[in-house]
């Protein structure tokens, strides 16, 4: 493999690393900003019969910069009785989880940050690091509301980690690999009963898995209807109650960036990722050449489009549903999602052997 062959040159290792770090920052922050503006500011406003921000920039498009500027100016407060070191570390841990997640997402034949065989496994592992950050935030704030929010978050995220893992297993069985790049290639080079005009996106066979994955993502992101840990009408702001200024900003970015990254992963696993069906160009699976180069440019755009659609759905649900109660969402995870995803795995395995 030749990473960044798109540049037409073999770059030294340090240059590659630097480019990867920059690329990671762009891949996390750019979608996060777009999501905040497009969905949080505008879509939500239009749903609620108002205009949203209109003053900063054309149609308020610079609003986010204004907000960031405001947050940066605020004092960095930590409560007197807080466990200061943990308190300050917690938002960074949450954001770190997002950056680690984006590392395995492939954006094109050569446009990826890392490409290793245990991609799915790694993805599921690092996504639960954010739980740790939230628990740290909830515990160290020395606030009863934060504590309740943190504990709720821990219970919820652990409960929904399981359906998420189980729903992905169906894809892994079908693809026969845990490498996310290979999963994308498989989806685009396979055919449906000999007809290869559409490739074979796994949403067709793993529709149930996709649904469960998206529900679990909604819960992992602590978005409504699973926003018990934040629950602003009960717990003020849950584990974020005591945070202000820059540290709150980090939580805020992490929330929306993680939504984007999970949408990327969902599109890789179920919607065919960066690829277009290879049969369109008579293209053999990834192996260099001109089409590869074109896809290195087009792939990220395709991924971005898919990500925006999926994030739009996530946000749409968020803005229109009321929230579950803690025991109800636990019951939903353990009594509905997990059995259904287990049945899904079973059926997938049987069909895999049969065909």
């Amino acid at each position: 493999m030749m990473p960044f062959a798109i540049l037409g040159a073999d770059l030294p290792y340090w240059t590659q690393s630097l480019l990867r770090v920059l690329g990671g920052a762009v891949a996390v922050l750019l979608p996060a900003g777009t999501i905040v503006y497009l969905f949080l500011f505008k879509m939500m406003s239009f749903m609620q019969s108002r205009l949203g921000p209109m003053e900063a920039g054309p149609y308020g498009s610079m609003q986010l910069f204004a907000e960031v500027g405001k947050w940066l100016q605020k004092e960095d407060i930590s409560p007197t009785r807080a466990d200061k070191r943990v308190f300050r570390l917690a938002p960074l841990v949450v954001l770190m989880s997002t950056f680690l997640l984006v590392a395995v997402v492939p954006f094109g034949p050569d446009a990826y940050f890392t490409d290793f065989d245990a991609g799915v496994f790694y993805m599921l592992a690092v996504s639960s690091i954010s739980t740790l950050g939230i628990l740290m935030a909830g515990w160290s704030s020395a606030n009863k509301y934060s504590l309740l929010g943190g504990l709720r978050a821990a219970g919820q995220l652990i409960a929904y980690e399981l359906p998420m893992v189980l729903s992905v297993i169906g894809v892994v069985i079908q693809a026969g690999t845990m490498n996310l790049q290979q999963i994308v290639v498989k989806q685009n080079s396979d055919s449906i009963f000999g007809w290869n005009g559409l490739g074979f996106p796994y949403i067709l066979t793993q529709g149930v898995g996709f649904l469960i994955f998206m529900i679990a993502v909604q819960a992992e992101l602590t978005q409504t209807p699973f926003d018990m840990p934040i629950a602003e009408s009960e717990l003020v702001s849950g584990y974020m109650t005591e945070y202000s200024g820059f540290r709150f900003l980090i939580f805020f970015i992490a929330e929306f960036a993680t939504a984007g990254v999970f949408a990327l992963i969902a599109s890789v696993l179920f919607l065919g990722g960066w690829g277009v069906p290879f049969a369109w160009f008579d293209w053999a699976p990834v192996g260099g050449g001109e089409i590869d180069n074109w896809m290195n440019v087009g792939g990220p755009l395709i991924m971005f489009t898919k990500m925006m659609v999926l994030t739009g759905i996530i946000m749409w649900v968020r803005f229109s549903y009321p929230r579950f109660r803690e025991d109800q969402l636990q019951r939903f995870a353990w009594k509905v999602l997990i059995p259904v995803s287990l049945i899904n795995i079973m059926i997938t395995a049987i069909l895999k052997v049969a065909f």
């Binding site: 629950a231 229109s320 009321p322 579950f324 109660r325």
Partner: protein, 397 residues
């Protein structure tokens, strides 16, 4: 929605549910693992109390084992203030009691004063009073329907509520000159007649409000999560509701068929219109919200009927320039948006009242909080408080 719609009953086994709640509260939880409880102050500064109500809850995990409401953070002493005001000036004070349905606060006081003076407003004034009374009910309860969503985490309905309440407030403003605090009711009638074109406009707005009710019903009441959050939660049996002196929608949701608009004859136009008093046998949070939704619809129908038959004539009876209320005592209560609101007015024949006792609905409605919150979880505390629906000004006066 048609009139044939029936309350959708789920589980009328109210006694069993309240028994379970009491058991859960009384049982010593975690017998083996002796854990320490936590006292949580919900309020006075808390997003759920929309105002400054303080609720002290003792928690075991997330289960409430003891709760106590602390009122009085917004006490403004209106009862005392009335003693140094003249009768016409009092309406400016009582406007601020239930600030979402202001006009409804004026009516019972004015009726009490009129009762003492033995005068009656002309028919047109009575009809307009009733229309504005119902409009303030709509303005009040439609905001409740939106706010309910916020308390349960759905942030969209509240904006719809604000959008459509605006139409009603505009109507009230164009008729009275004041959006929130009309101060429009006078002893013997009203300050002014309705402006031109008001009736047609009101009819259109009533149509919009009915659409809003349908919208809210589809968006919230039909939602499974919403139902699962409210059904069977905060059950108040009819007997308990009566004992705690609940009134209004909270009482009717417990299955008590009690509505002062229908049950007493005041010089208002309610006996001229045909309306249904909704009750619900469940007594849970869902029933309370559902009753309010139906009442908003019913209020729009009342307004429509009243607009059709509004009589002509003067809006002011003959009253002396300087109002002196003869000696005596009077009690008048009406069915306000939040429940029964009454004024006990004692006059010694002066310009102002000697003493006024205000019975506001929310004060009694939240008195049931210690009873109903035992054994529920923290999220349910919020949904129960939301469904009981109080206005802080109405609690503290």
């Amino acid at each position: 929605m048609t009139d044939v719609q029936k309350p959708d009953v789920q589980k009328p086994d109210v006694q069993k549910l309240s028994y379970i709640a009491a058991q859960a509260a009384d049982a010593r939880l975690n017998v083996e693992l002796e854990t320490e409880g936590m006292t949580l102050n919900i309020g006075p500064q808390h997003p759920a109390t929309h105002g400054t109500l303080r609720i002290i809850v003792r928690l075991d995990g997330e289960q409430v084992i003891w709760a106590e409401p602390g009122a009085g953070y917004m006490h403004r002493g209106y009862e005392k203030l009335t003693e140094v005001r003249t009768f016409p000036q009092v309406t400016a004070l009582v406007n601020r009691i239930d600030w979402l349905g202001s006009f409804a606060n004026e009516v019972p006081f004015i009726l009490a004063a009129e009762k003492l003076m033995a005068i009656e407003a002309p028919p047109r004034a009575q009809w307009i009073r009733t229309i504005l009374f119902e409009l303030s009910r709509i303005a009040n309860v439609s905001l409740f329907l939106g706010d309910l969503g916020v308390q349960l985490g759905a942030i969209t309905p509240v904006f719809m509520a604000f959008r459509d309440r605006e139409y009603v407030l505009n109507l009230i403003e164009s008729a009275t000159g004041g959006r929130f605090h009309p101060n429009f009711d006078r002893i013997g009638g009203l300050k002014e007649d309705l402006p031109a074109g008001w009736i047609i406009e009101t009819k259109q707005v009533m149509k919009k409000l009915r659409n809003f009710c349908d919208e809210i019903e589809n968006l919230l009441f039909g939602n499974e999560i919403f139902q699962s959050r409210l059904r069977g939660i905060g059950v108040i049996p009819a007997e308990v509701a009566k004992q705690y002196g609940l009134s209004g929608a909270n009482l009717r949701a417990s299955g008590v068929d009690w509505d002062l608009r229908r049950d007493q004859s005041l010089p208002l136009a309610y006996d001229k219109v045909d309306f249904k008093v909704w009750t619900h046998p469940d007594g849970d949070s869902f029933a309370r919200c559902w009753i309010r939704l139906q009442e908003t619809r019913e209020a729009t129908k009342i307004v429509d009927q009243l607009l059709d038959g509004i009589p002509s004539g003067s809006v002011m009876a003959k009253v002396p320039r300087i109002i002196k209320v003869p000696e005596g005592e009077a009690w008048v209560s009406t069915e306000n948006p939040l429940g029964e609101m009454g004024y006990y007015v004692v006059s010694k024949g002066d310009l102002g009242p000697f003493r006024v006792k205000i019975r506001s609905a929310s004060f009694n409605n939240i008195s049931i909080v210690p009873w109903v919150l035992r054994g529920v979880y923290v999220p349910d505390v919020i949904s129960i408080l939301a469904s009981l629906y109080f206005i802080l000004g109405d609690i503290d006066r």
